[in-house]
Amino acid sequence: MKTYPISLTVNGQKVEANVEARLLLVHFLREVLNLTGTHIGCDTTSCGACTVHLNGKAVKSCTVLAVQADGGMITTVEGLAQNGQLHPIQEGFHEMHGLQCGFCTPGMMMQAVAFLEENPDPTEDEIRMGISGNLCRCTGYTNIVKSIQYAAEKMRAERGQSEPGMEEMVR
């Protein structure tokens, strides 16, 4: 069995490993690094439960090879909180009841963070299109959208860009 050396940064930590070329990034994260916050849902590039950030972009880690991440930077859901402080998106899901069973939540949050980086002040429609690659089988989308709106406002405030009237969006 031929293996390939890879070296990457996962949640700020340098990681080195020898992997088979066919090893999927999601299996590398879960089974080699034991980072089981990233979930495997459909395993067919549909549900988005396995979403992680690869070099700052949200990708479905069931559809990327670990060797493709060589030299890259990965952030998983475990890397969202900093110094014991929840990320605004985690706080949003907590405050706005953004999860029911919780299975889709890690992927949903990783996609939401990437989306808000690009669009810090989205409309509800834009949020819904932004998470169109993530499925919630509890169909809890209403509160997921509210959670993302909560995070958007908090992140804007943290950046000192809070606009008047925005607090009305989150009730």
Binding site: M1, A21, L24, A58, T63, L65, V67, G130, S132, G133
Partner: protein, 291 residues
């Protein structure tokens, strides 16, 4: 699902990729991987070697040059979708990029891969037919440029020969009065099209249509150029009756089959409706100063 075993190499240049590709008839190119990885996991393909072209620098360009919009093989759907140049001057391409799968897939997926995969359900082939685009194919003997109309030879089959790689897509820079639109009908967001229609046209200042081309997605074994439907518009004012005629001809050009997305009759009817919508959108854009 675990892919079958294969070897892996990440060349740093196009000539190196072409050499590796021509040395191994069972090798496959890995670009965005958003079609290839699912096929590997389902074991629909089992290549001996994956040649990952993502480490080749300078292949992700999107720029106008010598009358063409030139798009490198590694330009991602997301980059095209966000490009000001594409959004302002290539509305058909912008529409099409937004129709592909979902945001995460578009972060990796490439236009070059979408064409090379030659899936008749993919969105870009119809748009490229409507644009009259050309593709640059690079092989051991150098590069050749062919019209996209000659590229799709069958379902999942293209004009790419052993050892060849699609390296660039060239879309003619639109003249004054040009616009386009892509109208896709899908069961749910991110799905393959039940049917979709791509329109690119150019209006003369006197209100007659100077050029028009129409491409159809997922209603045949290959993407279809509905030539008669485009031709009927040329030299005429596109009023409701002319649009209806074009839509009827587009529906007749479709060769759909019954499947889980609908019956043959239903899909033909969809093509007709989507052609009307795409033409109306393109006409509004052409009139609205969008080139």
């Amino acid at each position: 699902m675990i892919p079958p075993p294969f070897e892996y190499v990440a060349p740093k240049s196009v000539p190196e990729a072409v050499r590796l590709l021509s040395e191994d008839s069972e090798a496959k190119i890995l670009a965005g991987g958003q079609s290839l990885l699912p096929m590997l996991k389902l074991r629909l393909v089992s290549p001996s070697l994956l040649i990952d072209i993502n480490r080749i620098e300078g292949l992700d360009y999107i720029r106008e040059e010598n009358g063409w919009l030139k798009i490198g093989a590694l330009a991602r759907e997301a980059s095209l979708e966000r490009s000001d140049l594409v959004r302002s001057r290539y509305p058909l391409l912008a529409d099409t990029c937004r129709s592909v799968a979902d945001p995460q897939v578009r972060n990796l997926a490439t236009l070059g891969g979408n064409l090379s995969h030659a899936d008749p359900a993919n969105d870009h082939p119809a748009a490229m037919l409507a644009y009259g685009a050309q593709v640059v194919i690079t092989g051991p003997e150098g590069s050749r440029m062919i019209p996209v109309e000659q590229f799709f030879t069958g379902p999942f089959e293209s004009a790419l020969q052993h050892g060849e790689l699609l390296t660039e897509i060239c879309i003619p820079v639109p003249q004054m009065g040009s616009a386009g639109a892509y109208q896709k009908f899908e069961r749910r967001v991110g799905d393959f099209a039940t049917a979709a229609v791509a329109v690119q046209l150019r209006m003369d200042p006197d209100g007659t249509c100077a050029e028009a081309a129409i491409g159809l997605t997922n209603v045949g074994l290959t993407p279809i150029k509905a030539k008669a439907a485009g031709d009927v518009l040329v030299g005429r004012r596109p009023d409701d009756e002319v649009i209806r005629q074009a839509a009827q001809l587009a529906a007749e050009a479709a060769e759909p089959m019954d499947d889980q997305r609908g019956t043959e009759e239903y899909k033909r009817s969809l093509v007709k409706t989507l052609t009307v919508r795409a033409l109306r959108t393109a006409l509004a854009r052409a009139g609205g100063g969008v080139q």
